[in-house]
């Protein structure tokens, strides 16, 4: 399983790095435009804008994740991986771990960048505000996994009656509803929100894995 993930990361590393470059590039462009022609001239305010850089890295990682899942599907990677002597459970986990690993790399880079920016601003680099980065990363990971889960539910729907696919659909809808509640609702405390969101993302990944190993057709 780890070999599959490692090989995937090696293959998609340029995609991730280019996405980060584009993300940071766009942010730098916006900050520059604001600094030059905007009303914000104060240096501290500009640095505050710069604090959005980890967000740019995280969003770029999610975009890379979408590119990876789309490419894997388009190039029918399942077909190749299923022909290898690797247990199906490991193939299934590797499929969801690959985009998650990209998010994890983005999260690591985001934390590093955030610490540097906080230091530049004169704040302690290890402030509790890092939890906000975790919360955002967990949300993006969740939304990155949603299409993969939907894909498995569509596969399930192809082989069972609509009632048979109902529990999986219900789980997905429940997970999304809970996610919205965590994002907008009564859950207070960034640490709690980040934890709950990460748990929902893991639940979704587990659902995807469970559906994949029960498939009866691996040609697509």
């Amino acid at each position: 399983m780890w070999r599959l993930v490692r090989e995937g990361l090696r293959h998609y590393r340029p995609v991730l790095l280019i996405s980060w470059g584009v993300g940071i590039g766009i942010l730098v462009l916006v900050v520059t435009i604001v600094a030059v022609v905007g009303s914000v001239k104060d240096r501290h305010e500009i640095v505050k804008l710069g604090l959005q850089a980890p967000l740019a890295i995280l969003i770029a990682s999610m975009v890379a994740g979408f590119i990876v899942t789309g490419t894997e599907r388009g190039e029918n990677r399942v077909r190749m991986h299923l022909m290898l002597p690797v247990p199906i459970g490991q193939v299934a986990v590797a499929r969801v771990l690959l985009p998650a690993a990209l998010m994890l790399l983005g999260l690591t880079a985001g934390h590093g960048l955030f610490a540097v920016l906080l230091a530049l601003q004169g704040s302690p680099p290890l402030s509790p505000r890092h939890l906000t980065v975790d919360f955002i990363a967990a949300q993006l990971l969740f939304w990155l996994q949603v299409p993969v889960a939907i894909r498995e539910i569509i596969e399930l729907r192809h082989r069972v009656r609509w009632t048979g696919a109902l529990p999986a659909k219900a789980l997905l809808v429940t997970a999304i509803a809970l996610m919205v509640v965590v994002e907008l609702g009564p859950v207070h405390g960034t640490a709690l929100q980040a934890g709950a969101t990460a748990a929902l993302a893991v639940l979704l990944m587990a659902l995807t894995v469970a559906l994949f190993v029960r498939r009866t057709n691996f040609t697509k």
Partner: protein, 296 residues
């Protein structure tokens, strides 16, 4: 030669909306090439996918060299090489990188074997897969399938998109694979000229069911095209699969030439002429009807 079949399908059934494959009982002995012949949509690819584990049948069981094709215990996959409609290669990686990827997972992988095959096919290993032609991708798929020296090769239209010269090269390579008598090839196609040289046995599939399984030699020996003259307007001829009459001359396709000739002599037919049929012609006759026809 090992006594364990290369694969065994027992009572395999796979249902799709508007199509059912099986029940299918099929086995292949090592050292044998089985040509799996049928028109488009007859279930050839589904059968191959069932053996490869890419499609799980609703009923029945599939074994490869005596092991159930269970994805949770995938050791059986080291014994098979598959060339299918799609391959799952990394398009933005070179052919060599794709092969290297496979080599990290497949025990028995031989870079020497791969290099030899690639050279023989003229396959540019340093080109990205997305830059390869359709024929080159087909060659890469075959090299990838043979890289770990599998004992069972599952081929689904492997020469599709190849020019005649490379087609012949592919068949030569497959001949070599068979040399030690331990390997088996399951060759699914609707182009019979591909396997007429290679196949030991032919299975004819139509609408998900096996119409006939026979050795290639027995087919070419039995099937005849026979013409004769007979005063009777219409006549029921033994073993005639197809019957046509042009004025006084009658023509039949027979799936048992000897029986038909004996019957015609008994009827008093004259000007009897017979010729052997090619595997292509026999396949068309079998797949067109399969059943004996009544004279018109």
């Amino acid at each position: 030669m090992s006594g364990v079949p290369a694969f065994t399908l027992t009572g395999v059934v796979k249902r799709y909306p508007g199509f059912t494959l099986g029940p299918l009982d099929l086995a292949l002995q090592p050292g044998t090439v089985l040509g799996f012949v049928g028109p488009n949509g007859s279930g050839k690819t589904t059968t191959l996918n069932c053996i490869a584990g890419l499609v799980i049948p609703e009923e029945g069981s599939v074994e490869v060299f005596g092991r159930k094709t269970d994805h949770r215990a995938p050791a059986w996959k080291t014994n098979i090489g598959v060339v299918g409609e799609t391959h799952g290669f990394y398009h933005s990686r070179t052919a060599r990188e794709n092969l290297r990827f496979l080599s990290r997972f497949l025990p028995g992988w031989s870079d020497r074997r791969v290099d030899r095959l690639a050279t023989r096919f003229g396959l540019p290993l340093d080109k990205k897969v997305e830059q390869l032609s359709k024929g080159q991708v087909a060659k890469l798929a075959l090299v990838a399938a043979l890289g770990h020296g599998p004992r069972l090769l599952l081929l689904d239209e492997p020469t599709s998109g190849l020019d005649p010269v490379v087609r012949a090269e592919v068949l030569d390579v497959l001949w070599e694979v068979l040399e030690d008598g331990e390997h088996a090839i399951f060759y699914s196609t609707h182009v019979l000229s591909d396997i007429s040289r290679l196949a030991d046995e032919l299975v004819f599939l139509h609408e998900g069911r096996v119409l006939q399984r026979s050795s290639k030699d027995a087919l070419t020996e039995r099937w005849r095209r026979i013409s004769f003259r007979l005063a009777d307007a219409d006549v029921a001829v033994a073993s005639a699969v197809e019957y046509r009459r042009v004025r006084a001359e009658h023509q039949v396709l027979s799936d048992d030439g000897d029986a038909t000739l004996a019957h015609l002599r008994a009827l008093g037919a004259d000007a009897i002429e017979q010729s052997r049929m090619t595997i292509d012609e026999i396949a068309v006759a079998i797949l067109k009807g399969g059943n004996h026809v009544a004279p018109r």
